[in-house]
Amino acid sequence: MRGLVWLCRRETLRVSKLWTQTVLAPVVASILFILVFGLSLGGRIKQVGGLDYEVFIVPGLITMAMVQAAYANNASTIFQARFDRYVNDVLSAPMPSWQMTLGYTVGGVFRALAIGVSLLLLALLLVDVPVERPLALLAAVSLGLVLFASLGLVVGVYAESWDFTTFINNIVILPLVFMGGVFYSVDVLPSPWEELSHVNPVFYLVNAVRFGFLGQSDVSIWLSLGVTAALAAPAYLWAQHLFGTGKRLKA
């Protein structure tokens, strides 16, 4: 298990060393969202589900920042390691493949949690956000981070260039997150947009996290957790398959 511990240390050390880029920048960006959308526009938007708008959007914004960080961190760390070939130091080590997958996943989860906790603390200074269902919140965050950290690993393993990792973020993750009800409740959407929102997997994650914070969501918490888990498991197994077989990592 020592190899796993050291790999986790390495991945968290990278996040810590680059904290202005890995933690501070996304926290500032998300706080700007809260200030602009919540406090500036909030006064002009009526309550959502009985909650002030600036309170309503905080869980979604935290989710958005965390999943993007988990994805981006792991996509870049594994791509960089492949590009510079220092991944060979890990691949040749006496470490089972499951430890490699887990070790790299931890980096993205660590960074996302650092951002999430920082954002929550800062948000509490601006708006009064409760944590109504801590266990549900824990489950939702855990599943969401496994999903996006694993997705980052998979994309980082397949990527041929830096641009590709950014491309996936901009063309897939960001639209799904934005359309997942971060800034609104899908109840207010006209048909067929409301129905289409239910096809978006991120919608369930955002709602699961919102339920953890606010105790209310557009869909059942069990359905939200179930959908997120149903996506997280194959994503993690896909990453594990890549490390287990060496596909794209070994010639």
Binding site: R2, G3, R9, L18, R85, N88, A93, P94, M95, A251
Partner: protein
């Protein structure tokens, strides 16, 4: 007991890359424990493919690889092998000392042991002044030394050096030769690939010539000269590669 078991044994090793290139074909090789073994061949002969296969850095198409009798992909065998690759592949986020300590950790060393060994390696390779410097800020020679120090960090029994002196100046090459000699004298098996014939002759007890994924000849430098009926190792190389 370990001297009876070869340090490295390849049986029918075959590697065909995804693009169809056959880099190694039914390759057999046995390197005795404690030997200093050289692998010579032109670019594309299959040297780096062979090394990568031993170090679990590529997916083998067919064949068997054993390190001191253990399957090469077992945790035990992995712990016994140290590799200094031809290309500089250092973690850009880590300092010299961290590079060594983390490598030790990946290979199962305890923190205190890894720190102590890292300091030992830093001193052995004269990197004290750069201990807290990150890899991208090192000179070419310092990076090459760090690469070698990293390969030796976990005290491997089989050290694989893939063109360790490629592109380094005469002083550093002599310095590295000295260290490698001392390592061999202490009982470590060394597998060296090189383009420099004088390096192979100077260091290796036995040399294998490899071309197009096949073993052409294998003997001591003197044995090869006798076998090919020439006086210089360069002529052996030219004849072997032309045959």
């Amino acid at each position: 007991m370990f001297l009876d078991v070869p340090a490295l044994e390849l049986k029918g090793l075959t590697k065909r890359y995804d693009d169809g290139l056959l880099a190694l074909e039914d390759f057999d090789l046995r390197i005795p424990a404690g030997s200093f073994f050289g692998l010579l061949g032109p670019n594309g002969a299959g040297k780096t493919t062979l090394i990568s296969a031993v170090c679990n850095l590529l997916r083998v198409t067919a064949g068997e690889i054993r390190v001191f009798g253990e399957p090469h992909d077992s945790m035990t065998a992995r712990r016994w092998v140290g590799l200094a690759e031809q290309d500089i592949n250092l973690d850009r986020f880590l300092t010299v000392r961290e590079t060594l300590v983390y490598h030790g950790g990946y290979f199962g060393m305890r923190r205190a042991e890894a720190c102590e060994r890292a300091d030992e390696m830093i001193a052995a390779f004269a990197l004290e002044a750069k201990s807290d410097t990150r890899a991208p800020k090192l000179s070419g020679g310092q990076r090459r030394r760090l690469l070698l120090a990293r390969a030796l960090m976990h005290r491997p029994r089989l050290v694989i050096l893939d063109e360790p002196t490629a592109g380094v100046d005469f002083e550093l090459r002599t310095e590295l030769w000295e260290y490698i000699r001392r390592l061999h004298a202490a009982g470590t098996t060394i597998l060296l690939t090189t383009h420099y014939l004088e390096e192979a002759e100077e260091l290796c007890e036995e040399i294998a010539l490899i071309r197009d994924g096949h073993l052409i000849a294998r003997d001591s430098a003197d044995g090869l000269r006798t076998h090919f009926g020439v006086e210089r190792l360069q002529d052996v190389y030219v004849k072997a590669m032309a045959s």
